[in-house]
Symmetry: C2
Subunit: 353 residues, 2 copies
């Protein structure tokens, strides 16, 4: 597989289907290499209709008819058994066959994860892909993972997330040697449960291509203290959803405060451009969606309710990962982890013997 870059799109996924995904593809072309091509999987008529309204895409897309769509409420197990031939399945399968460098879908998250695992397989030792959030911070963007898939994580799993997150941040945000923190309830070595303390030891004692900075706490996420924050999927999911809810709450409180009386309304009118800029910078939509990390292939999930701009952002992530040495970097670090874990086991056996 060589140039040009090919991105496989589940054109039917998400709440709005081709009406959002096709304009999203058009928008994405503005910042992708000029020769990039797209495979659009789904209902040929609906896709063609959307393409007719997107003159920028002429000659860059190939429509791949798919006979059905995996619904937003289909169970993952059902999607694995019966999903063959759907727009989502075909989009991922194009990565497996080597026709495309990456796949993007705004469809059912659980189904996409199940189909991706089935078709592409996981990298060594990982059971399930990790979901990463691009979290806007005071200093840029911090990658937080896992934010959903793996609710229970042992120490090695947390270290795997550190490896995946660092490679992701390096590829997408161009940090040369990403700083990594492990989320905990305090910064001292003895804080937290066994899993985080074990991961802390492994990360301190093993040489990985990343700059491990030790434990961080919840307020370090919005501060942007490190490039990558590692946690189990339960804690990460709660932190992300709490933040999204809080962003909406602040937004509505701000609106209410500025509409409370005529004087405030006048002030709000005068400041409206500045307030709009701020909302864009804090947009929680920024943190939704992201790649499934740990697969042998690139699959990016876009938020189901996304607009064309959000879907274009997901395509951009897919393209940047496909063009980087992301997979090779992860491979190198995973091999070091395997060696370190074997070493730790051998030491333990010797001390028992």
């Amino acid at each position: 597989m060589s140039d040009p870059l090919v991105i496989s799109i589940d054109a039917m996924g998400g709440d709005h289907g081709p009406a959002v995904t096709v304009p999203g593809v058009e928008r994405a072309t503005k910042f992708l290499p000029s020769g990039t091509r797209f495979l659009l999987h789904g209902d040929a008529g609906a896709i063609q209709e959307a393409l007719d309204g997107s003159p920028g895409l002429v000659g860059r897309c190939e429509v791949r008819p798919a006979s059905f769509v995996i619904g937003m409420d289909m169970r993952p197990a059902h999607a694995m058994r019966r999903g063959k031939g759907s727009s989502m399945w075909n989009a991922v399968e194009a990565v497996k066959t080597g026709e495309a460098h990456a796949a993007v879908s705004a469809g059912n998250t659980g189904a996409l994860m199940a189909v991706s695992r089935l078709l592409l397989r996981m990298m060594a030792d990982l059971d399930r892909p990790a979901l990463v959030a691009n979290w806007p911070t005071a200093r840029g963007v911090t990658a937080v993972l896992d934010v959903g898939a793996n609710v229970a994580c042992d120490a090695e799993r947390l270290v795997e997330f550190a490896i995946l997150g660092a490679a992701f941040h390096h590829a997408l945000h161009h940090s040369t040697r990403p700083t990594v923190g492990l989320l905990n309830v305090g910064s001292e070595d003895e804080k937290g449960h066994e899993e985080v303390r074990g991961a802390n030891r492994l990360l301190r004692e093993t040489q990985f291509d990343l700059d491990y900075r030790g434990f961080v706490e919840g307020d370090d996420i919005p501060k942007g203290t490190v490039d990558v924050i590692v946690t189990d999927g339960f804690t990460g999911n709660v932190a992300l959803k709490t933040a999204e809810g809080l962003a909406r709450f602040f937004g509505s409180e701000l609106r209410a405060a500025l509409m409370a009386d005529p004087i405030s309304r006048l002030g709000a009118f005068v400041s409206q451009r500045a307030l709009k800029r701020m909302r864009e910078r804090l947009d929680p939509g920024q943190v939704k969606g992201g790649p499934f990390l740990g697969l042998k292939g690139i699959v990016v999930k876009s938020h189901g309710g996304t607009d064309a701009r959000g879907f274009a952002g997901a395509i951009r992530q897919a393209a940047e990962l496909a063009q980087s040495d992301f997979a090779a970097e992860i491979d190198r670090n995973l091999q070091r982890l395997t060696a370190a874990a074997h070493e730790a086991e051998a030491t333990e056996e010797r001390s028992i013997a």
Copy 2:
């Protein structure tokens, strides 16, 4: 022990000692029963100096000299062995001896927890007190617990938090039958790890004095979907600190946006009263501190960096808990939990036999 209400104060605790705690006490008198008295433990000279500047407290305080202060960095184990005679120790001991109805301290959290457990003991089955946050939401205040002390929690522990949180919300926020949600990564019964699924079953199948509403997610915290949100101390601590960090981040982004250019500055000047009201309503200081739940006695921790207003809020919490049927309500529910847990064990044994 009967009227009048007596509150025992660690006057030396926190970053500012009597300069904040004594004005905090004076401020608290405005909303406490008129006969309320205070025991002020600590350096008699420093306390008297602060009292000289607080004419509202004449005749309502008794200064109890203490020979030393437990520092903010003293280890909990050290505080248990060597804390006797300190202002914090004496403040808690006054609750044990029955001289006071409740104790308040802004001192070292770990030390206060250790000294309180040692002197007052825990209620049946609980190992460590739970920390509860009063979280400002779109609909009022939600009690979130545990936010720090218990990083690993089994199903029964989570149910105990539900019981403590409901009694707390009832006493402090006057909900007649508090609604309770269990924090998870989704709302379906099969979501999450074994501990939350087990707690969900126990809460559904046992009759407690609370209105259990099932699983909630992170964004339900700021929404105020329920009165009480239950989680383990690891997840709760991360969620709380993430929210505090985010509130600061929003505040600084808002200031930056409104100072970006002369037009925005003018708008901000015009809206300043509305913006100040909003900041007060969202004040993350509101969520700091709170009682240690599960002790046989009332101890309220105030944030170390608090001002007089925050310390007065902690005193108010202590007084409201002391004047309610808080302890009796918890006792009743804990007995039901013990019975339900025994029943579950017996059923399991029968099914094995």
